[in-house]
Symmetry: C2
Subunit: 219 residues, 2 copies
DNA sequence: ATTAATTTTTAGCTATATCTAAATAGTTAC
DNA sequence: GTAACTATTTAGATATAGCTAAAAATTAAT
């Protein structure tokens, strides 16, 4: 069973919105995440339903099937492996990789995916800290919380970002926040949720909005 | 100006059939080279004409324009760079790369192409011996003749193959012919054009059909 | 110079992927 | 429990890319 590039993009969006198959997903949510119109989504989910990668009951949203999850995970695997390739081998900055990976993830060649994985030394995480599914679709899950959920005096390590947009990532570069950095929450302003953290002997202030897009493993 | 993937594939075919813009190309030739029908080609060349990458006069075939040649050369450049990547870095055999490169050549990212070129150390030829255009579309041309055109006792070096099909390349692997091999023509059968050559102290017999798909620089 | 053969184009159909506008189903508020 | 609002689907367009069958133009043969 094969999907078109566009079908793969929709399926991937549905997988992410469903939080790995846990929730059902609405037409409007798919439309806004894909930047298309609800009418286009209605057409597409009918097709994805026919191909049995989602269960679709008119007016009641969609659930991704087991088969759909496996398919989505293979696309995500390719996306993240290419991102690692671009950063590790071609010296792309982490804010330059997403769009290119959006294209590369659709290249169809199981041999290519396997060899790329090998060449990159079987990486477990992409440049944004997201886990890379293995060839069977298995993902190493870590218990992560967002920086905005931490308590004052708690320490931990930045392990991922929720937002992979160039604007956000360049801001993190500028202030000196990066995947792997050890941090400690120094202060939290109750009024607006903005925080003060310690990173590499430096004090950093950030808004709640920024903090909520940084993921931490507490330790 | 951007072309769709399908338009890029047609333009590349037209470029190759025209021998780098030297000849005009017929609808039927494009159709057979693209494995589509003449009716589909008529539609496509009308579109390519509108985008001014070819000159098209109904019933009189097409000529690729200057702009069309530059565009085609950039696609060819990407195709061949990816082939080098697959063979040099991912240990693909030379008969496994063409189909994958057909997909990768359409990835749109000037930065990717430039960095890939750099990463591969600015290769001048692909795994089949075809020259890789530089970023300006300039190609290093070498005076090559086919093995079937050589004279008895002439010596030279295999520099490229005309046919990149897996079947042909695996046959060459089996008999021990490869790009870079020094050869000498020992004998030629007038009746059917079949030949006998010396490669690495070994004598090899091959049909005219095979010999005409092997390109030589005489020396 | 006609006629015949070949090549090319056009007409009309299918499939994908998108859109806007209109219709309809479902949900919420009173 | 009906009215109002919101979400979703359907209808009808447009654009791409392919096909077959029929028409038209070019080229070749007599
Ligand atoms: Mn990404
Ligand atoms: Mn994509
Ligand atoms: Mn291609
Ligand atoms: Mn090649």
């Amino acid at each position: 069973m094969t999907l078109t590039n566009s079908e793969e993009n929709y399926l991937k969006a549905i997988y992410h919105l469903s939080e790995a198959g846990k929730k059902s997903v609405s037409t409007n949510d798919i439309a806004s995440s894909m930047k298309t119109k609800p009418a286009s989504v209605s057409d597409m989910i009918r097709k994805l339903g026919a191909k049995e990668v989602i269960n679709y009951r008119k007016y009641y949203g969609v659930q991704i099937t087991e088969e759909g999850q496996n398919y989505a995970l293979q696309v995500i695997r390719k996306h993240r492996l290419w991102e690692v390739f671009l950063v590790d081998k071609l010296k792309f900055n982490w804010d330059e990789v997403h769009e290119v990976a959006e294209q590369l993830e659709h290249v169809r060649s199981p041999l290519l995916t396997q060899r790329l994985d090998e060449y990159l030394n079987f990486p477990k995480f992409d440049p944004h800290g997201d886990p890379i599914p293995d060839e069977f679709g298995d993902v190493k899950a870590r218990p992560r919380i967002s920086l905005s959920e931490m308590e004052v005096d708690q320490a931990g390590q930045i392990v991922a970002v929720k937002d992979s947009s160039a604007a956000f990532l360049r801001y993190l570069d500028k202030v000196g926040a990066y995947i792997g950095a050890r941090i400690k929450l120094l202060d939290k302003v109750e009024f607006d949720g903005s925080i003060e953290i310690l990173v590499d002997q430096k004090t950093l202030f950030m808004s709640k909005d920024v903090a909520s897009n940084i993921l931490i493993v507490v330790s």
